[in-house]
């Protein structure tokens, strides 16, 4: 299959998707050294990802995007989580460690940014891909067969011969395929991809995106794609959620968010990216820098950098509320008089 996933048509009725994972009021607190105090990195996040849906989570460093995603799999032992993460009817935050372990890899899987540090240099590719299955008690021959099938599916040339090769014998793009194969061999229903293309050159990045495109279409796999690259979001995702300082500030269909961003931060972000297909003019720059989580400003955390702020923005924290088919957290939507 060689298709680029079509853009959902704005005018048509959005297909009703069965929700796969529903996150409610998720907070993540990280301890500060041994002091006993902690800092809230993710500050009340709500969202749903439908079966087979590709959602991009965009934000700058420190916005909490990675910790939000990691919280869905409970990867950070030190993090204190609260809220609800409902996956197929079970609250993941209430599961025992043992049950959560069973879910990882078989229901939700994750790929990370740097494929080299993720792979064991002393273990063959075949063994690493099959490991997920072996842990689940699947026999050696069967696990190897399925590992081969996945590597084949992901376009690794001569996969049968290369099952016994080591990671250093693979190029960056091929390693990322292997990492993807490890995630997909357990046939998860949700794939969390944390900046999977950031360390790659543009041409390889493009191949990996094509791959994700095909796999998710073929398998009906939902993808939560974490990135700071709006170009990647536009080319891949159906929906985009924008995070700023621990909260979602905008969530909507990719086409409508890019065509008509509602939140001033989203507007600025889109204008601040230099584009290869447009006339050159002065690049718009959002003044200032994202606030550190320990020194969040009062009211809307974006207000000190916002060029449309008014009195209320420094006082009240805006809630994420529905606007048409999107959700936006900004006081401008209530009108300045309110």
């Amino acid at each position: 299959m060689k298709t680029v996933h079509p853009l959902p048509d704005e005018a048509s009725v959005v297909p009703v998707r069965q929700p796969l994972i529903t996150v409610e009021k998720l907070t993540v607190d990280m301890p500060l050294g041994r002091s006993g105090s902690s800092v809230r990195i993710v500050d009340g996040v709500d969202f749903t990802i439908g079966v087979g849906e590709r959602v991009a989570l965009v934000g700058e460093s420190g916005s909490g995007k990675s910790l939000t995603a990691r919280a869905l799999m409970r990867l950070d032992r030190l993090a204190k989580l609260s809220g609800r993460v409902d996956f197929d009817g079970t609250d993941l935050l209430k599961l025992s460690d043992r049950d959560m372990g069973k879910l990882r890899g078989s229901s939700i899987a994750m790929v990370f940014q740097d494929p080299m540090s993720f792979l064991d240099p002393l273990m063959t590719i075949g063994d690493q891909v099959a490991e997920t299955l072996r842990i689940r008690g699947i026999g050696k021959a069967e696990a190897r067969k399925r590992a081969l099938a996945v590597l084949d599916e992901l376009g690794v040339d001569r996969a049968a011969e290369r099952l016994d090769a080591y990671p250093h014998e693979f190029s960056g793009g091929m390693r990322q395929r292997v990492v993807l194969a490890m995630a997909l061999v357990g046939e998860p229903r949700l794939l969390i991809a944390d900046e999977p293309t950031t360390a790659l050159d543009v041409r390889v990045q493009d191949q990996v995106l094509d791959l994700l495109d095909d796999v998710s279409t073929r398998r009906g796999l939902a993808v939560l794609f974490i990135t700071h690259d709006l170009g990647v979001v536009a080319g891949f995702a159906e929906r985009v959620m924008v995070m700023y300082s621990g909260r979602i500030v905008e969530d909507g269909e990719v086409a409508s968010v890019f065509a008509k961003p509602s939140h001033p931060y989203t507007q600025g972000l889109i204008k601040a990216v230099p584009r290869i297909d447009q006339d050159l003019n002065t690049l718009y720059a959002i003044p200032g820098a994202p606030p550190p989580p320990l020194a969040r400003p009062s009211g809307c955390p974006f207000h000190p950098r916002c060029d449309q702020r008014f009195d209320r923005c420094g006082v009240d924290l805006p809630a994420l509320q529905p606007v048409g088919m999107s959700r936006v957290a900004c006081h401008l939507l209530d009108g300045k008089g309110a």
């Binding site: 460093s61 041409r203 170009g231 536009a234 086409a255 290869i276 297909d277 720059a285 959002i286 820098a289």
Partner: protein
């Protein structure tokens, strides 16, 4: 012509393997006041060229000439002048600024080394002027870098490089470590400085959209060789070499309609 690089080649030791040749016969020129972009994928040799331009490493073959100075063999006064007039900004503003130095010490260090301002008061005044110029508050002069954000640190690094009035600024991926919303600030600052100071900028980057924005001349590198070089319009408007074309086709565009159309077209092409 301010700096000319004439068919340089460079190898790195890879013992026990034979030396790995990372630059093959590279030739390029830098003119006064022009912004030139070196682009290519990882391993293309772009950072190695930047290091050669700064005389941080020496190529085995070829010549590098800066304003009458033979850079590879320069000594004494010539080398000192070269070191003052060709400055650099690195990728990581967290790793490239000494955490134990105040902003004043960091920015003023070059003035001290090159004995440009004789008194402490004159140095301080010059540092303040420079901070103002790059958009920092001179009142922050006595602070340490830990309290600054990535974008502000990169401003400090730029001020530190520009304070001794260089004629060439070599920047190796200066915005790659910055957040999207801050990256634009630094690109605009570099552009502003180039115009204001008639500064030549050598900009090493993998992000082609950023390079297109900043640079009038572009050199495309692949596996240590110059694949194609030309003006911005030539490279981005009508790239001649297939390698350049494939590089440009893969740049993601932050527009769902255009971005998807570009990807679909490219996939169709590779499938055939």
């Amino acid at each position: 012509m301010l700096m000319s690089i004439d068919s340089i080649s460079k190898s790195y030791n890879a013992f026990p393997n034979p030396p790995a040749k990372v630059l093959h016969d590279v030739t390029l020129n830098v003119d006064t006041g022009e912004a030139i972009g070196l682009v290519g994928e990882s391993g293309s040799g772009k950072s190695t060229i930047a290091k050669c331009m700064l005389a941080l490493i020496k190529p085995e073959e070829g010549r590098i000439t800066y304003d009458g100075i033979d850079v590879i063999h320069a000594k004494g006064d010539d080398l000192r002048r070269f070191r003052r007039e060709v400055q650099m900004v690195f990728q990581d503003p967290y790793g490239s600024l000494n955490p134990r130095m105040t902003v004043e010490e960091l920015i003023g260090e070059g003035l001290l080394i090159h004995k440009l301002e004789p008194t402490a008061a004159a140095r301080r005044a010059r540092v303040a002027e420079m901070m103002e110029m790059v958009g920092l508050n001179p009142n922050d002069m006595d602070r340490y870098t830990r309290s600054f954000s990535g974008g502000q640190r990169q401003r400090i690094a730029i001020a530190r490089a520009l304070v001794i009035r260089p004629r060439i600024l070599v920047c190796d991926e200066p915005v790659a470590a910055l957040d999207v919303s801050v990256q634009a600030q630094v690109i605009n600052l570099l552009q502003d400085m180039q115009k204001k100071l008639n500064l030549a900028i050598v900009f090493v980057a993998h992000d082609l959209a950023v390079v297109r924005h900043l640079c009038e001349k572009i050199v495309v590198l692949h596996k240590g060789k110059v694949v194609e070089q030309g003006s911005r319009d030539e490279i981005f408007g009508a790239p001649k070499m297939p390698y350049t074309q494939s590089l440009l086709a893969a740049v993601p565009v932050p527009d769902p309609v255009v971005g998807r159309a570009r990807r679909a077209a490219r996939r169709l092409e590779t499938a055939n």
